[in-house]
Assembly symmetry: C2
Homo-oligomer: 161 residues x 2
DNA sequence: GGCGGGTTTGTTACAGTGTATCACCGCAGC
DNA sequence: GCTGCGGTGATACACTGTAACAAACCCGCC
């Protein structure tokens, strides 16, 4: 079972994500500054993975420039708190749709037609990976699992249209 | 069962890799040019993943400069033929230790102390991934599975030393 | 041998991604 | 007030990758 219903559902939850970010920071005694909130919001609102430079542009306005370096710092912070993820194959960032421990086996499903990114996780997959690593004598610290393909919604649209 | 014994075993096979590359190209009617051979050799000889610029530097000598763009082209070719792999999380390249179909579920095991990269594959892992994707209604086209951690050799060395 | 067409390589320039460094600001605590 | 500290702004830079065009090469063909 994947844990949510698609990108529309995700977008509906922007407020939830911000609320969660805020409470996570409060719990940990960390600052959820305006900049961090804006970056979190930009990542959460976009329907697809955003590059750091995209975010910088989104947040910039005539007279108020947000430099990419500031975005990177905010993203680093948000990633450390597990609030956003980095998609290595795209050099882009997405909001974390639900809490999970860092290093836990989550797969990112990247749709090549709509650009949306879903998260999926399963015991089965994690067990398979663990056993494979154990057999190889390898101690994992951090995993990157990304699959590019077509999400159900887009495939349906193609078949219909 | 992982399919080979570690980085020393890999390095011993540089000649084999070149021979395989050559025969693959001959079979497919493609050119295994001197540049492509040199790039393949550089990737195969290095004990760890090499960046394109590293390779360019390795191949350059006083009076004979190899530009990164040439290396990228050779790498693109070698990747298309399945002779080298790209490690997305490192922006770096490794030789393919053994033949496998493109898109097949191979995991890259990246050691954070020695920098070596192993390949591992298992039915179990692939099945788990397939089922997880199917449940999510996602049709995969291409997967990236990379795990960072400590390889057996390095862990042994740490415990001993 | 010369010609034409495809592929490979060289070269330059540039776009995109990410980091280092330093200065400044705001704020808590003394 | 002073100091220390985390966050931000700003500039510069390093690293990664691609576009575009020209030159060299190869190979079949006339």
């Amino acid at each position: 079972m994947h844990r949510h219903e698609g990108h529309d559902a995700c977008q509906a939850g922007v407020g939830d994500m911000l609320a969660r970010a805020e409470s996570v920071c409060r719990e940990r005694g960390l600052q959820f500054t305006p900049l961090r909130r804006e970056v979190m919001e930009a990542v959460a609102e976009a329907g697809k993975a955003q590059g750091a430079y995209d975010i910088a542009e989104t947040l910039s306005a005539p007279g108020k420039r947000v430099a990419p370096v500031s975005v990177y710092r905010a993203l680093d912070f948000l990633m450390q708190q597990g609030l956003v993820h980095r998609i290595a194959s795209r050099n882009a960032f997405i909001p974390c749709a639900h809490g999970h421990a860092p290093g836990e086996g989550v797969v990112f499903l990247i749709c090549r037609s709509c650009g949306g990114v879903d998260e999926a996780s399963s015991e089965e997959l994690e067990d398979g990976l663990d056993r494979t690593l154990k057999r190889a004598g390898f101690t994992p610290a951090h995993s990157i699992l990304e699959v590019e393909g077509d999400c159900g919604a887009c495939r349906g649209r193609q078949e219909a249209g």
